[in-house]
Symmetry: C2
Subunit: 426 residues, 2 copies
C-alpha cells in the first residue's frame, strides 16, 4: 500500500507554490519513461523542475533506480528507470533549478558487473537531490490504521511551503526525521546538491515574456489537471442526476453521481456508474480502499454513487460515463432502469497521450531567461508506485522493519531504448 | 604548484575553531594511509572529525580517489586512496560529525571494469562531503604571480569561521564560487550530506569527562604541532645565535638562525644551518620557493639563515640541527668556522611515527557521549599533494583551463592491503 494521502497532499502543496503538477499512480516502465519525456519537454531555460517519486527503488554504483509496477522479479535492466538520467535530461533543458526527491529504498545490489556508461551532469549547478534515506538503507512507512505514511514525505509536506532555500527545507525534513524514534539508526535523509544560487520552491513565477512554444507545451500539461465539467442529466422519468468529477492523481479520476430531483412518479432511486471502456480499479485492494474512502469523504458531499477511473494514461480514445438510473415506478410498482451516457473526452492525463512515446524527436529549448530568483515557470511530476510488499513498513504499534528481500540480478538502465532520447550536450 | 598558502591558512582557521589540526604535505600513499589510520584512532564518540584534501583526484562509479605523490602514471589501484573508505572509518568511530572536504578534480575514469566492493555507510547521519567541484569536472586554481589559490579553498577560508551549520558554510562557498566568473560553467561546488542535527564547526568543545584513552591519543596529536623550543647558542668566540622554529605544515618545519650578539673580536658573522640526517627540500622548485618566501616573511624577523625541514614523517630517529658560524677574527683577519649541534628530537609529526603503519591492531572507541551541539573534541587532518602539472590552472590573466590528460587505467582501491584495518560494524 502506497502512502497515497501524502502524495496527494504534496501535489496540492506544490500547486500552492505555483507548480504545474502532474501526479501519476502505478505506471509501467514504458509509461514512466513517456511521462518523464513529456515532463522534460515542458522544462526550459529558467524553469524550476521538480521530480518526485515514492515507491520501490534500489541503488548500484552511485546510481538510483526506480522500479515500475510491471517490473518482474528479479529485476532486469530494462525494468528500471535510472534517476541520474532524469536529472541529466532536466539539466539539458537549462532549468534554473532541478530537484529530484526520492521516497524510496536505496538498498545496494551486489556489484559484480560493469556499470554501463551514463553521461555526467555538466558543471552548471542548481541541481538538488533529496533522498529519503542514505546509501544501502531503506525508506520506511508508518502504517496507522488504514493510512500509510512515507516518513520522509510526511515531514516534507510539513516544511515544503517554507519560503527559504530548497536545501534548507530539506534540512528541516532531515532534522525532523532524525529526531523520529521510529527510524533512529535505520533511516537518515541525504541531501546532495550543487545549489549555487539561493533558490526556493516558493520563488515567484514570472508571468510575462514566455515564448509561444512554451505556452503551447504548458497548455498540454495544464489540461492534465483539468476536470470534466459537472453536468446535470435529465432522465425521461423526471429524475435529475448530477455527475461531477474530482482528480485524485492526474491519472485517477473520481466520478460522483447524485440524485438532485426525484420524478413525480418515481421512488427508491439509485444510480450506478460505469465507463466505456472499462478502466481497472487499482484501489480495490483492502488497504487502498480504506484510504480511498477517506479521500472521497473529503472530495464530495455524500454522493449516491462513485466510480474510480484509474490508469487514465492507457486511454486512447474518448471516455464515456454511463449512468444507470434505477427506480420504482409508483403506478406499475415495477423496478425500472433508464440509462444515459456522457462523453467526457480524454480527461486529465489521458490528454497527454503517454502511450505514444516519441523516440525520435528532439525538442529545442525556447529562449526564456532567468534573472535572480524568479522562475520562468514551475513544473513538477509526482510518481507513486505501490511500495506494497516490496517496501518495508514501520508500524506505529510494533515498529517492525521488514527489509526488502535481496535479489540476484543487477538493475541496469537499458541504454538501447533510452539513449536515443538524449539531447547530447557536446 | 599546490596552493600552500591557503592550506596553511585553513589550518590556522581550524585551530581557531578548536580543532586539533594535523596538516601534511606531499605524502606517499603508504604515508597517507598511515596518517589516516592515526587520524581515525583519534576520533571517538562525540568528536567532530574533519578531513581535508587538496591535490589531484579522480572519480569512478560514485567513489572519489586521492592520488598520492608516489602514484605512477597511469594510475594503478594500489596507488589511490578511496575517500568513501575514510568516511566509513570516521563513522565507525561514532563521531558526532564527520566532514570530508575535497579540493580536487573528479574527472571520471572510463567505467569498463567491475567496481570492487566497498562497505556502505550506516544510516546514522551527520556525514558531510564538501566537493570543490561536481562529478566529472575539474577543480581550478587561480595563479596570481607566485601565489596559487585553489578557488574552493579560497572561499572556504572566507567562511569557515562562521558559527552556522557546516552545510550552510559550504553553501556560502558554493554561492561565492558560483558567482566567480573565472569558473563559470567549469566548476560548481557539490555538497552531499546526512546532517540530521544542526552542527557547526564552531560548536564548543567539551573539556571535561574525557576518557584516559582519548586523552592519551590526543596528546600524541597535540605533540604533532608542538614546536621545538627556541634556544640561544653561545659560541666560544663570544657570538650568540638564536635558533627558533616555525611549522608550515605538521611535516614541514622551518628553522631560523639569528645572530643576537656579536663577539668582541669577531666581525662579518654569517650562519648556515643544516640537519642530520639531511631532509629533502620539497620547496626547491621555482614556484614553491616564491610562496615559501612569502610565508617566511610572515613567520620570522628577517633571520640570518633559514632551513626548511620537509618530509618529517620519514624521520625515524632524532633530528639534529647543525649551526655553523662563520666569522672573521679581528686579530688574525682569518675567516673561521665554529659549529654547534642541537638535538631537537622528533619534531612535529615525526613524533607520530607514520612510517610504522599498524596493520593488525583494532582500536575500540572510548565511551564519550555527545549531547546537543557540543563536541567531545575536534580533530582535523589536512592533506596537500602537488596539483602540479596534473591539476588544471585558471590564470587570472588568460583564464585558460588545461584539463588533466585522460588516463587508461582505472583507479581501484587495494582491498587486500586496506580492508584489514577496518573495524567492521556488523
Amino acid at each position: 500500500m502506497a502512502p497515497i494521502m501524502d502524495v496527494h497532499e504534496l501535489s496540492n502543496l506544490l500547486q500552492q507554490l505555483g507548480f504545474r503538477v502532474v501526479s501519476l499512480l502505478d505506471l509501467t516502465r514504458e509509461e514512466m519513461l513517456a511521462a518523464i519525456d513529456k515532463f522534460i519537454q515542458l522544462l526550459d531555460r529558467g524553469v524550476y523542475g521538480l521530480f518526485y517519486y515514492a515507491g520501490h527503488g534500489c541503488e548500484r554504483a552511485g546510481r538510483n533506480y526506480l522500479v515500475a509496477v510491471d517490473a518482474p522479479q528479479p529485476y532486469e535492466p530494462e525494468n528500471c528507470v535510472c534517476v541520474q538520467r532524469i536529472m541529466l535530461k532536466m539539466q539539458e533543458r537549462r532549468t534554473a533549478l532541478s530537484v529530484i526527491l526520492l521516497d524510496a529504498c536505496r538498498k545496494w545490489y551486489k556489484q559484480q558487473c560493469i556499470p554501463s556508461c551514463i553521461m555526467p551532469l555538466g558543471p552548471t549547478g542548481n541541481t538538488v537531490y533529496g533522498y529519503a534515506t542514505c546509501e544501502d538503507a531503506e525508506a520506511f512507512e508508518v502504517q496507522d490504521g488504514g493510512k500509510s505514511t512515507g516518513i520522509f514525505t510526511k515531514y516534507l509536506n510539513e516544511h515544503i511551503l517554507q519560503s527559504e532555500k530548497v536545501t534548507h527545507v530539506l534540512e528541516r525534513v532531515s532534522e525532523d526525521l532524525g529526531k523520529d524514534p521510529l527510524v533512529t539508526g535505520k533511516q537518515v535523509v541525504e541531501i546532495k546538491h550543487t545549489l549555487k544560487e539561493p533558490r526556493s520552491l516558493a520563488d515567484p513565477v514570472r508571468t510575462t515574456g514566455h515564448t509561444k512554444e512554451l505556452r503551447l507545451r504548458d497548455a498540454c500539461w495544464r489540461q492534465a489537471n483539468e476536470l470534466p465539467q459537472k453536468k446535470r442529466l435529465m432522465f425521461r422519468c423526471g429524475v435529475e442526476v448530477e455527475v461531477s468529477f474530482s482528480a485524485l492523481f492526474s491519472n485517477v479520476l473520481m466520478a460522483f453521481a447524485t440524485v438532485k430531483t426525484t420524478g413525480l412518479r418515481t421512488q427508491d432511486c439509485t444510480v450506478t456508474l460505469s465507463s466505456i471502456p472499462t478502466l481497472e480499479d487499482i484501489f480495490s485492494g483492502p488497504g487502498r480502499s480504506e484510504e480511498m474512502d477517506t479521500l472521497l469523504f473529503q472530495k464530495s458531499d455524500n454522493p449516491d454513487c462513485t466510480l474510480r477511473l484509474c490508469a487514465l494514461q492507457k486511454l486512447k480514445g474518448s471516455l464515456v460515463i454511463k449512468v444507470d438510473l434505477h427506480y420504482t415506478h409508483m403506478d406499475s410498482r415495477l423496478r425500472q432502469t433508464e440509462s444515459k451516457q456522457m462523453d467526457i473526452g480524454k480527461p486529465l492525463v489521458a490528454s497527454c497521450k503517454l502511450y505514444k512515446r516519441n523516440h525520435a524527436k528532439k525538442q529545442e529549448g525556447a529562449s526564456g531567461r532567468s534573472v535572480g530568483n524568479i522562475s520562468d515557470g514551475k513544473a513538477a511530476q509526482l510518481h507513486q508506485t505501490p511500495g506494497g510488499p516490496r517496501r518495508p513498513f514501520t508500524r506505529k504499534a510494533e515498529c517492525a522493519a521488514q527489509p526488502a528481500a535481496a535479489r540476484g540480478n543487477e538493475p541496469e538502465e537499458n541504454d538501447e531504448t533510452e539513449q536515443q532520447d538524449f539531447t547530447f550536450r557536446h
